[in-house]
């Protein structure tokens, strides 16, 4: 299986919603004989490619016999950063890796990504070599800048699916020497594809409990492996990738599918600076951060093989860890193999992020994972990732949390924390807003169906927020409205009592007219109720009426309700009820 089977799903998770056309430069690297020479080289390219970019593509593109699968319809993919304009030779993916942190444990993601572009390569076979020595390897390259890459959710696989849908990857052995740039549109219309394509491809059921339509499951690379086993080796690899380690992963499943599922575990901006290949034989000369190979028994480096960084002061071993996914049983002593819920040995930032990703892998919600990780986060330090992961995990928790927990989550999210807020911007702020929105929705849903006494019990929490800062007031206003409407429909006197808390001090950001209308409605119902109520029901309400009268002496509804209560008291002369504490509303 390769990209071919996914053409129909020309979109993927993580594509930004405001998708615009993205322009790509192209390059074709293959072996043909023409008047200018023969052998593997760039036979056609867009004029926009710089000499340095061509050098890197030439140096790292797969050549003879480089595909793992020996069959004629084998495919491979790669994605790697290209150097900025004046980059020195050797500034490709591998040397980017070399520029990384000196010690293997340094936080991986705090260095800025390279300022160049990124190359997304699709490799296949294209007939027999003209020399008669084996089959020709053909690589189609798309080159795009960071903005364009972000438009596609930092998902190279998504770009390749779009290219394939546009029939760009079909081998051309006699192309024009200068290729025009191509335009691709990130499609994220889930309605068009019925459901999220990644969901349908990598849904939970698909992972292990059923045999997939691809013969083997992307995560479960061997028949006996469970989803948990698969998650364990993927978790191990993700931990390593976040620590800037390199991996050669041998899988018996589909290399490209496995690579995509794993790659979606990395934060989007990191994917712009990191490199991946799948289905292509390992070579030190194009050692990617993640190399996934399949069905290839003799081409990986030994476990101990290392390459060293070039200069002494920052010299470090760039160990390439070889991992056999089908035989993974927690190799790598000292590594954290715990899954979500168990304590991770990693620093909190990575642990939070990895727990988040692992939970998605376990649930098979890869599309949701891609959507979450593919945003243009600006702070991708471990601390930043920890914050983002906590927001997402809180969002997940909100869907099943009870009302007190939801209020706790709301307070936590709304609490002003200067040190934290200074980092929250851009996509992360959107995630925070999304969390608040989820919490608000869940609270609304719960309170709308909760018994009156439950609403009354939590009313203080709501009004505390309502009286707080503007953001808190904005958050609580829909709750106020929902609660007052719900209580007003069932118990108008209770609603009138509750409304006292929100009858004055309306924040500027709240629609005062709408709020006043709501209060008026509550009071109108209260007045109507008083007129129809039996005498036995009225004794408790005199104090409420008195408070409202002090606040709104001219309100017709209060006057009506107060008159009814007054009549009752003058006839019966009953004492002030203790049910409602006047002190709370004296002002």
């Amino acid at each position: 299986m390769g990209i071919e089977q996914t053409v129909a799903a020309a979109s993927g998770g993580g594509v930004t919603s405001a998708a615009a056309d993205v322009s790509f430069d192209q390059a074709i690297f293959t072996s043909v004989r023409n008047p200018m020479g023969e052998g593997y080289r760039i036979i056609a390219a867009s004029a926009g490619l710089t000499p340095h970019e061509k050098q890197v593509i030439t140096r790292t593109s797969p050549s003879h016999d480089a595909l793992c699968d020996p069959s004629a319809d084998a495919t491979g993919v790669a994605c790697y950063p290209l150097p900025a304009g004046a980059g020195a030779p050797g500034m490709g993916a591998s040397s980017f890796a070399q520029r990384r942190a000196g010690d293997g444990s340094r936080p991986a993601l705090d260095s800025p990504p390279p300022s160049g572009r990124i190359c997304i390569a699709y490799t296949c076979r294209a007939g027999a070599e003209h020399t008669g020595r084996g089959l020709r390897i053909y690589t189609y390259n798309l080159i795009v800048d960071q903005d364009g890459f972000a438009q596609f959710g930092y998902n190279p696989f998504c770009i390749l699916r779009a290219a394939q849908a546009a029939d760009l990857t079909r081998p051309q052995l006699k192309p024009k020497q200068i290729l025009e740039p191509v335009t691709l549109t990130p499609a994220c219309d889930t309605a068009r594809y019925g459901k999220d394509p990644l969901c349908s491809r990598y849904g939970k059921d698909h992972l292990c409990s059923t045999r997939s339509r691809y013969g083997k499951d992307p995560l479960c690379s061997s028949g006996h492996q469970t989803a948990t086993d698969a998650c364990q080796w993927m978790r191990h690899v993700l931990q390593g990738l976040l620590r800037r380690r390199k991996f050669v992963v041998r899988t018996e499943g589909d290399a490209i599918d496995s690579a995509e599922v794993l790659w979606m575990g990395l934060p989007g901006p990191v994917r712009f600076a990191a490199s991946v290949s799948a289905g292509i034989r390992f070579s030190m000369a194009r050692c990617r951060d993640l190399n996934i190979i399949a069905g290839d028994k003799d081409v990986t480096p030994s476990r101990a093989q290392t390459v060293c960084a070039p200069t002494a002061p920052t010299a470090s071993d760039q160990a390439v860890e070889e991992l056999d996914a089908s035989r993974w049983a927690g190799q790598g002593a000292g590594e954290d193999h715990s899954l979500v819920g168990q304590r991770s040995s990693l620093p909190s930032g990575r642990a939070g992020w990895i727990d988040l990703v692992t939970s998605h892998w376990q649930q098979g919600t890869i599309a949701a994972l891609a959507d979450r990780t593919s945003k243009p986060f600006t702070d991708i330090t471990p601390a930043g990732l920890d914050r983002i992961a906590r927001l997402y995990l809180a969002s997940d928790e909100a869907s099943s949390a009870d009302i007190p927990r939801l209020f706790a989550l709301a307070s936590e999210s709304l609490e002003p924390q200067p040190s934290r807020l200074c980092h929250i911007k851009g996509a992360e702020a959107d995630v925070a807003d999304q969390l608040l929105s989820v919490v608000a929705d869940r609270l609304l849903a719960r309170l709308k169906t909760a018994p009156i006494d439950v609403v009354e019990r939590h009313w203080t929490s709501i009004t505390d927020l309502w009286k707080g800062a503007e953001r808190e007031a904005d958050f609580s206003q829909p709750l106020v409205e929902a609660c007052l409407r719900r209580v007003g429909n069932i118990d108008p006197p209770a609603a009138a009592r509750l409304a006292l808390d929100v009858s004055c001090g309306v924040r500027d950001s709240i629609d005062a007219a709408a709020h006043e209308s709501l209060i008026t409605t509550v009071l109108g119902r209260f007045a109507d109720w008083c007129e129809k109520a039996s005498w036995e029901s009225l004794p408790d309400l005199q104090n409420v009426c008195e408070i409202w009268q002090r606040r709104r002496p001219d309100c017709e509804f209060i006057t009506r309700a107060a008159a009814r209560c007054h009549t009752f008291h003058s006839r019966v002369g009953c004492a002030t009820p203790a049910r409602f504490n006047l002190k709370n509303h004296a002002g």
């Binding site: 593997y40 050098q55 050549s63 030779p89 027999a128 008669g132 390459v307 070039p310």
Partner: protein, 292 residues
């Protein structure tokens, strides 16, 4: 009792590009040349002599070099050759195995770390002078890319810069058929060598370069007089050599005695070497050695 402690340096320079690498590194972090080369050089305590085999893609570099090494280890021409490290034997092993099975060896990949490197200690018998020769089997495509855009493959640039001699392989069969391609590619390579070897602008290059007319069995006249053949069919290279190079010579060579053509299971035409008949393999090498 005296004790001697062998201390390993914390870093070792790559033999080709001089980049400092950790001693346990398998390949150089910059140019991907095998670090075993420098380990052998340290053991020998002699500066190795690099001889580069260059030429276009599909010209026959792998077959030529593999056959040459095999002949040397079989003491052809009264040579004695000792491979320094088992990796040095891989190339001749591959070539001989494939040719024995009546197949051509696979194309050399463009990935540098996939190239075969040979480190041999070579001497004429009864001759005291030993040569530590390092000969990589480079991919023609990589050479073409480096010539077209210098420093695409820094390893090639560094390798040629450190080469004591070079053998340029040209497809004589194609050239004799009237194609200008071999002449042009050889011209580019010689021009590239000129740029690398030149010490002073007006001074001719003294580094020996043997121009080997490969697949000469297709054009037997090249064996009779390689110079005349080159003058006629590779005139551009001939002229550049005359102008810029002091030590150059033309040789004709062939490995395969006869070719047969067949089809693979998909109908592709595949050439099969029917029998091996090395001719003119040692001469260019011997000439280069004599000029070192």
């Amino acid at each position: 009792m005296a004790h001697t402690t062998m201390t390993m340096p914390s870093t070792m320079p790559c033999l080709i590009c001089q980049t400092e690498n950790k001693p346990e590194s398998v390949v150089c972090s910059k140019c991907y040349a095998p670090m075993a080369l420098i380990h052998e050089a340290v053991i020998q305590e002699r500066e190795p002599c690099i001889t580069s085999i260059i030429g276009d893609s599909n010209v026959g570099k792998t077959v030529y070099l593999g056959t040459l090494l095999d002949m040397l280890t079989k003491r052809a021409g009264n040579f004695e050759a000792v491979p320094k490290g088992a990796y040095s034997v891989n190339l001749q092993h591959t070539v001989v195995s494939y040719l024995s099975a009546r197949k051509f060896p696979p194309k050399t990949p463009t990935e540098v770390d996939q190239w075969h490197w040979a480190y041999y200690q070579i001497a004429k018998r009864k001759n005291t002078r030993l040569y530590d020769l390092v000969m990589p089997d480079m991919a023609g495509e990589a050479l073409a890319a480096e010539v077209a855009a210098p420093k695409t493959y820094t390893v090639i640039h560094n390798l040629l810069e450190r080469s004591a001699g070079a053998m340029l392989l040209v497809d004589a069969a194609v050239a004799s058929a009237g194609s200008p391609q071999p002449d042009f590619f050889a011209l580019k390579l010689m021009s590239y060598l000129d740029g690398i070897f030149a010490t002073k602008p007006q001074q001719r290059i003294s580094t020996p370069v043997a121009i080997v007319l490969c697949k000469a069995d297709y054009c037997p006249e090249s064996f009779d007089d390689p110079r005349r053949f080159a003058h006629t069919n590779l005139n551009r290279v001939w002229n550049l050599c005359e102008t810029r190079f002091q030590n150059y010579e033309f040789f004709a060579a062939s490995v395969v005695g006869a070719l047969g053509y067949g089809q693979d299971e998909e109908g592709n035409v595949v050439p099969y070497p029917l029998h091996i008949s090395p001719r003119g393999i040692l001469e260019p090498f011997e000439w280069v050695l004599s000029k070192l």
